[in-house]
């Protein structure tokens, strides 16, 4: 039967291929433009005074040092809680857990937490830390709220790092009579730790960049003094940008400050993310099992 014409799809295929390229590169272009805009308009605002000085005149002049420090404290606080908690949880799930009901509930809880909107975390932090525990709007409340928010991320990436360690290492150790914990401590953790830390860096990026959770639990806008205790309020980069951009009356005057703040925040978060991506690539190559 000669019903078969030839499968001349080359032109059709080329059109489809290029359409697909269009959609893909359009995204790249969009991202690139945003980054370009922030960088180009932010750089003029960056100078030594901006980075190390205190805000003056209600934030329309001066520097953003308190915000940088505040974000730093929040990062340290949230990581201080989320990292040990997350790594311990990942260790349990990866090394000790059976298929029982409790473990399924734990996994369900983690997936659930990952899906909770950031503002709801803010509400939760408000209800529990600020009000119930009476910590007030403070570094403590903010750090704890952020910690709970990034916990799923840390657990998931830590578990991934643990699972990447070949089973053979564990079996060899157990076969020699070592206990579970000895096996993990000596034969699994050392290889998994780099990956676990890498995953945490992504968590740090999130903690540094989120506004909604700290909106209700810690952030102040104009605080030209540095915090003295964890019960103090603090400025933070994302919140600072938000207020500058939306509520400052003299928007024209502060535009360069807005861009400067945005650039500092972008630099911080992107810096963390790039380090994490880079480290992950390097570790994948190094531990090519």
């Amino acid at each position: 039967m000669n019903a078969f014409r030839q499968n001349h799809t080359t032109i059709q295929d080329t059109v489809i291929r290029w359409s697909m390229r269009f959609f893909t590169y359009a995204i790249v272009l969009g991202v690139g433009y945003i980054l370009f805009d922030i960088i180009v308009k932010g750089i003029p605002a960056i100078n030594w005074e901006f980075l190390t000085g205190f805000p003056r005149r209600g934030g329309s002049e001066g520097g953003i040092l308190p915000a940088i420090l505040g974000t730093t404290y929040l990062i340290l606080g949230s990581i201080g809680v989320a990292l040990p908690l997350g790594m311990a949880s990942a260790l349990y799930l990866s090394e000790y857990a059976s298929q029982g009901r409790l473990n399924r509930m734990i996994r369900l809880a983690i997936i659930t937490l990952a899906g909770v909107p950031s503002i709801v975390f803010g509400l939760f932090g408000l209800g529990m830390f600020v009000l119930f525990f009476d910590f007030g709007t403070s570094i403590l409340s903010g750090s704890l709220t952020l910690a709970f928010m990034i916990l799923p991320t840390i657990i998931v990436s830590s578990e991934e790092a643990l699972r990447a360690v070949p089973q053979a290492l564990r079996e060899g150790s157990l076969a020699l009579g070592a206990t579970r914990w000895q096996t993990i401590y000596k034969n699994v953790l050392p290889y998994a730790l780099p990956g676990m830390f890498t995953g945490s860096i992504l968590g740090i990026g999130r903690a540094a960049g989120e506004t909604a959770p700290i909106l209700l639990t810690v952030a102040a806008f104009y605080l030209p003094i540095l915090p003295t205790s964890i019960f103090d309020q603090v400025m933070a980069l994302p919140y600072h940008l938000y207020i500058l951009a939306t509520q400052h009356p003299d928007t024209q005057k502060v535009l360069p400050l807005q861009y400067g703040t945005a650039l500092v925040l972008l630099f911080l978060v992107t810096g963390f993310n790039l380090i994490a991506i880079f480290l992950r690539m390097r570790f994948r190559k190094k531990y090519k099992w």
């Binding site: 039967m1 019903a3 078969f4 014409r5 030839q6 499968n7 799809t9």
Partner: protein, 257 residues
């Protein structure tokens, strides 16, 4: 049957060499595959028979970092030139895989996939093609009332026959079969072997098999591969009773492999 200068040749390879990255899988293979006959490729695991098979429809092209040297002619034309129409080549040279791989679609959709790709649109033509192909694969009576059911619901043997029907639907001239029955039970295997005997009338068949009894039962000609080299080629009867090469005899009598 013995090959004579008058036996029409369907496929011819001259100095065929295949490299996966830097590793050479085939060394200077010269073969002549006669038309409308069943040629079996035997040899131990990793000897290159599947690689050879995949060179005949250029399916090696889709694996990264493969290199093919030499000439492969079908009906006298080299298929490794720049002007080769790959789509048409693969239509004319059908392939059945070791593990059956029906698409997750209906039985009907599986069989018409090929014809549709090659431009057949008329519903009636497609229906006829489906019936003819399924009859040719010996599956029609079992599925004719449930063509719209998922192909994945069929048994292993049925799925493999469906894959054969799928290949037949584009009206190939050559059928390449890579251990088509190795994953099947003896009863299904026997059915496939009978089918091969019937298909030989209209198609040139090249079949890779690790089962020597199968090769002896089913084929007219046999090629013995070992470690990437073609050791011996001849009509099946001779190969299995009076092989010319000592290595061939060792393999056939089970001394290795």
């Amino acid at each position: 049957m013995v090959m004579s200068p008058q036996t029409p040749t369907k496929i011819e390879t001259l100095g065929l060499e295949v490299f996966y990255d830097t590793q050479q899988a085939l060394f200077g293979i010269d073969t002549v595959i006669p038309s409308n006959q069943v040629t079996a490729l035997i040899g131990p695991s990793g000897c290159g028979k599947s690689t050879y098979l995949r060179s005949l429809n250029r399916m090696n092209d889709i694996i990264e970092n493969t290199q093919v040297k030499g000439i492969v002619k079908i009906d006298g034309t080299d298929i490794y030139t720049n002007g080769t129409d790959l789509a048409d080549l693969r239509r004319r040279v059908g392939m059945v895989f070791q593990k059956s791989n029906p698409f997750p679609k209906s039985i009907y959709e599986n069989v018409v996939y090929g014809p549709k790709i090659h431009g057949v649109k008329d519903r009636q033509t497609l229906d006829e093609l489906v019936e003819t192909s399924l009859i040719g694969a010996g599956l029609w009576s079992e599925v004719k009332d449930r063509l719209d059911k998922s192909a994945l619901e069929l048994s292993g043997g049925q799925q493999q026959r469906l894959c054969i029907a799928r290949a037949l639907a584009v009206e190939p001239e050559i059928l390449l079969m890579d251990e088509p029955a190795s994953a099947l039970d003896p009863k299904s295997t026997a059915r496939i072997e009978d089918l091969i005997g019937e298909l030989r009338v209209n198609y040139t068949i090249v079949i890779v098999t690790h089962n020597m009894q199968q090769a002896a039962r089913v084929s007219d000609f046999t090629a013995f591969f070992y470690e990437g080299h073609l050791i011996e080629f001849g009509d099946t009867q001779t190969i299995f009773t009076k092989p010319l090469n000592q290595q061939t005899e060792d393999y056939i009598t089970g001394r290795f492999g």
